[in-house]
Amino acid sequence: MLARVADNLYWMSRYLERSDQTIRLLGVQVRSVTDNTSAQVAAGWTRLFRSLKVAPPGGDPLYGDQLEDSFLLADAYTLADFMSFERDNPGSMVSLWGMSRENARQARQEITQEMWGQLNRTYLSLRDTQLHFFWNKEPENFYKETSAQIYLFRGVTDNGLRHGLAWDFIRLGRFMERIQVTTEILDNYRPALDDEDTDLDWSLLLRNCASFEPYCRHYTPEIDPWKVMTFLIHEPESPHTLRFAAEEIRNGLGRIDPAGGARHPLQAAHRIAGQLRALLVYGSQDREDLAGTLAEVRRLSRGLHDEIYRRYIFYPADQALPGR
C-alpha cells in the first residue's frame, strides 16, 4: 500500500477514535449535571478539557488552577457547544469528523463504498445539526446516537474491508489514539485517589472509558477507586483498557511487518511496542508507581508513533532501493 495512503488511513482512524472519546466524555459530563454538585460538575469540565488537551473558551487549563473558576462562570451549554459544533475549535466533535472524512477522501481507493458512505453521511448530518435542536430534550441521547454511528462504521469496516494492510493501519490508528487519550483521562483522575475529602463518583471514570459493564462483570457494581484504576490499566480483555490497546498495537505491527518483529535486529517500532506491552502486562501495580507507569506509557506511545512514521511512512528513499 502507498505510504501516503497508510498515513491517511491511520489519521482517519485516529481522528475518529478521538471523536469517539470526545463524544463519550461529553455524554458522561452532560449526564453528570443531573445528579452532581456544581463543584463536581466544574471539576468534571476541567478534567474533560485537560484529558483532551483542548483549551476551553475561557483559557488554557494546563496553566494554573485559578482558571477552574471560569468553568463555573461559563455555562454547560457554551462548553458543550464549543466541544461539539465549534468549527474554530479543532478538537470539537464536528471538526474531528471533518478531519477524519478528509483523510478518508484521500484514501478512497483503499476503503469500501460502505465505509465512505457511513463516514460521509454522518458528517453531513452532524454538519447540519445544532446544539439547541436537542439540548433541552435529550442531550445524552444525541451523544449516544452519534457514538453508535462510530460503532456502525467500525462494524462496516471489520465486515466489509479485507483484513489486509489498510485494515491494519486503521486498527493501529484507533488503538494508538485510544492508549494516548485513555492515559490522559486516567492521569487526570489520579490526584483524586489521594484526596481524602473527595466525593468523586468513580463510576464516571468507568463510563468515560466505556468500561462500566466490563468492570461490573469482573468485580461487582461496588466501585472501588483503586480497583477502577488498575482495571483500566491492566485488564487484558476489555477493549478500552491500556493493556488491551498495547496488545492490539503489538499484534498489528506484527501483521504490518512480520519480519521487523521477528528477525534480528528488531525494528525500533517493534521494540517499543514490546516494551509498552511488557510494562502493562508485567509492570508494577503498586500505588506509588502509578504516576510513573502512566508517564512511561505516555513516553513510549509517543516514541512508537514517531518510529512507525520513520519506518513505514516517511522513510528516506535511498534506504529502500530497489524493490518490486
Binding site: 505510504a3 497508510a6 478512497r108 481507493q109 463504498q113 453531513l124 504490518i256 518490486r324
Partner: protein
C-alpha cells in the same frame, strides 16, 4: 413563440412541453408523438405523478451527495460542496443509430492515432501538403520531446472522450478530447443511481450495459505495459484531492483495484519509476495519468510544477514506463486541426469520414476571417486551445456590444480563432421543477484504444439546464443525465405474423 402541443390526455408533467420543430427532439417526433423506441418510456413517465418524479430526482441527487460526487466551490467565507446536477430522465438512443456512431468513432480515433505517430516521426502528411506545417509544429501542444518516441501499439491516445451533438442531420463531432478526458465516472454513477431508482422500467427497456468500462480500461492499460513485464504494476496519477475530477480518479482506481498516486508518491531512480509503499519502493510499469502534459515532469516540461515527478519523462523515453495518454496528444484535438480531420481520415485510411464533420472556418485564412466577421451574428466562434466553454462567442445569443468586442479580439489575433455555424443542438426532456421541459444536450462516449478498440455503449450526456442555453459545461450551469442505448425489438413483421 412556443409550440406547445395539446394532446388530449397529455400528462400534467408534459403539459408545458415546448415542441419546437427547429430542434431535433430526442424523445418526440415532429408532430409531438413519442418516437417508437421511446414510447414505452413515455407511457410510463406519463402515468407517473409529478410528485413521484420529483422524489426520484431527489433520491438520485441524494445518492450523489452521499457518494461524495461533489465539486467544491471556494468562496471567501467558507468552501461549499455542491452536488453535480443530475437529471433523472435518461436520453434514449436507438441501438442501430448508436452502432453507426460507434463505427465512426473507432475510425476517427484510429486515424488520429496514425496522425500522431506520423507527426512525431517523418511527418508524411505535412510533406504531402495535406495539413499546413505551422498548424502542427506551431501548435502549443506539439511536444518536440516526443519526436521518435515509440508508443506501444501506436496508441498515443488510449482513452478518448469525444463530444457528439445531434441535429436534424444526425450526429456530428463537436470536439475530440484526446488529452485527459473526464466524466466517465459520472456516466457510471448516473447509471447506477438511475438503475436503483427505476429498476423495473430499466429492465424492460433493454438498455445496453456500460458497467464493463473499468474492466476494459484496465485491460487497455495492461496491454500497454512493456512486453517483458508479465504482471505489470499500474497506477493512476492524480493531481490530488483539490482537483475537480478527484472523485473520478478515486472511483476508477477503486474499480480497477490499482493505486491512486500523486506526484509525491513517485520517484525516479536510474530511469525507473518507483512508488513509495509501506514496504519500501515498488516499481511502476504503467501510469494512467490524469494530469496535463505541462505538469508531468518539472525537468522536461514546466519547471514550476509540483504535481509531477522529476525525471519521469526520461524514464518514459527509455521505455521503462508507459504513460497513457502519451504526452503531446493535444495537437490532434486542437480546434484548428479539427477542420482537417476528414482529410486526415482520408489520408491514412482511404475512407470517407463516417461521422459528418461540422463545417469549420479558419480565421487564420483571409477569406475565413472576412466570412466570420461578416456573419458574427450567426456563427459560433471559438478560441483555439481553449476548452470548458471559455473564450467562445455564440453569435445569435450575443449582444451587439459583445459581438463588437469579440470582433476586435478576432481582428487582433485571427490565428487564434475558428468559426462554425450555430448548430440547432438536439433537445431532450428534463425534469425542471414539477414539469418536464426540453433542454439542449450533447453526448460524450468514451473510446479505448490499444491493440483493439473498445467503446462502451453510452456516454456522459451533458445538459444545458438553463433554458435556451447551448453551453453544457458543468462550470457554466450544465448538468448530466443517463444515456440509454436501447435495442428495439423487431417490429411485428412477417416473422411475427408467420409464428402467429
Amino acid at each position: 413563440m412556443t409550440h406547445t402541443a395539446v394532446h388530449p390526455g397529455a400528462a400534467p408533467a408534459f403539459r408545458q412541453y415546448d415542441h419546437n420543430p427547429t430542434f431535433y427532439d430526442e424523445m418526440f417526433e415532429g408532430d409531438g408523438s413519442p418516437r417508437q423506441h421511446c414510447s414505452d418510456f413515455f407511457e410510463t413517465i406519463r402515468e407517473t405523478p409529478p410528485d413521484d418524479l420529483r422524489q426520484i430526482q431527489e433520491r438520485v441527487t441524494r445518492s450523489f451527495l452521499h457518494e461524495g460526487i461533489t465539486f467544491t466551490v471556494y468562496g471567501d467565507e467558507q468552501t461549499i460542496e455542491r452536488v453535480f446536477p443530475i437529471d433523472c430522465l435518461p436520453r434514449i438512443v436507438r441501438g442501430d443509430e448508436w452502432d453507426d456512431v460507434a463505427r465512426g468513432l473507432e475510425q476517427r480515433l484510429r486515424a488520429l492515432n496514425l496522425f500522431l505517430h506520423d507527426i512525431y516521426h517523418r511527418g508524411h502528411i505535412i510533406r504531402d501538403g495535406v495539413i499546413p506545417a505551422e498548424l502542427v509544429y506551431g501548435n502549443k501542444h506539439y511536444r518536440i520531446e516526443m519526436r521518435g518516441v515509440e508508443v506501444p501499439h501506436g496508441a498515443y491516445v488510449s482513452v478518448c472522450g469525444t463530444d457528439l451533438v445531434r441535429t436534424h442531420d444526425g450526429f456530428a463531432v463537436l470536439e475530440d478530447n484526446l488529452r485527459v478526458p473526464s466524466g466517465v465516472s459520472y456516466m457510471l454513477a448516473c447509471r447506477d443511481a438511475i438503475k436503483r431508482s427505476m429498476p423495473r422500467l430499466f429492465r424492460r427497456s433493454r438498455v445496453r450495459d456500460v458497467e464493463q468500462y473499468s474492466r476494459l480500461l484496465l485491460e487497455t492499460l495492461r496491454s500497454l505495459a512493456p512486453p517483458q513485464v508479465s504482471d505489470p504494476s499500474i497506477v493512476l496519477l492524480t493531481p490530488g484531492v483539490y482537483n475537480s475530477a478527484y472523485y473520478e480518479h478515486a472511483f476508477l482506481a477503486r474499480q480497477m483495484g490499482i493505486e491512486l498516486v500523486e506526484g509525491r508518491d513517485l520517484l525516479v531512480h536510474n530511469r525507473r519509476v518507483y512508488m513509495r509503499t509501506t514496504a519500501g519502493l515498488r516499481q511502476v510499469d504503467v501510469i494512467y495519468r490524469r494530469i496535463d502534459d505541462d505538469f508531468i515532469d518539472p525537468v522536461t516540461f514546466r519547471e514550476d510544477s509540483v504535481l509531477g515527478v522529476p525525471g519521469l519523462f526520461h524514464a518514459y523515453r527509455a521505455g521503462r514506463v508507459v504513460i497513457a495518454n502519451a504526452p503531446g496528444t493535444g495537437v490532434a484535438d486542437d480546434k484548428a486541426v479539427y477542420a482537417y480531420v476528414p482529410r486526415i481520415i482520408k489520408y491514412y485510411l482511404g475512407e470517407e469520414s463516417l461521422i459528418k464533420p461540422i463545417p469549420t472556418t479558419l480565421c487564420r485564412e483571409r477569406e475565413g476571417l472576412a466570412y466570420t466577421l461578416a456573419n458574427l451574428d450567426k456563427l459560433v466562434v471559438k478560441m483555439v486551445g481553449e476548452s470548458g466553454g471559455y473564450g467562445m462567442l455564440v453569435g445569435p445569443h450575443a449582444s451587439a456590444t459583445e459581438q463588437k468586442e469579440f470582433a476586435a479580439a478576432l481582428r487582433a489575433n485571427p490565428d487564434d480563432y475558428i468559426s462554425q455555424p450555430t448548430l440547432a443542438l438536439s433537445r431532450a426532456p428534463c425534469l425542471i421543477g414539477a414539469h418536464i421541459e426540453p433542454r439542449h444536450v450533447d453526448l460524450r462516449p468514451f473510446i479505448l484504444q490499444s491493440e483493439r478498440t473498445e467503446i462502451v455503449p453510452g456516454g456522459l450526456c451533458r445538459v444545458a439546464l438553463k433554458k435556451g442555453s447551448l453551453v453544457v459545461n458543468s462550470s457554466q450551469g450544465g448538468g448530466s443525465k443517463d444515456a440509454w442505448i436501447v435495442d428495439v425489438p423487431e417490429a411485428a413483421g412477417p416473422a411475427a405474423a408467420a409464428s402467429a
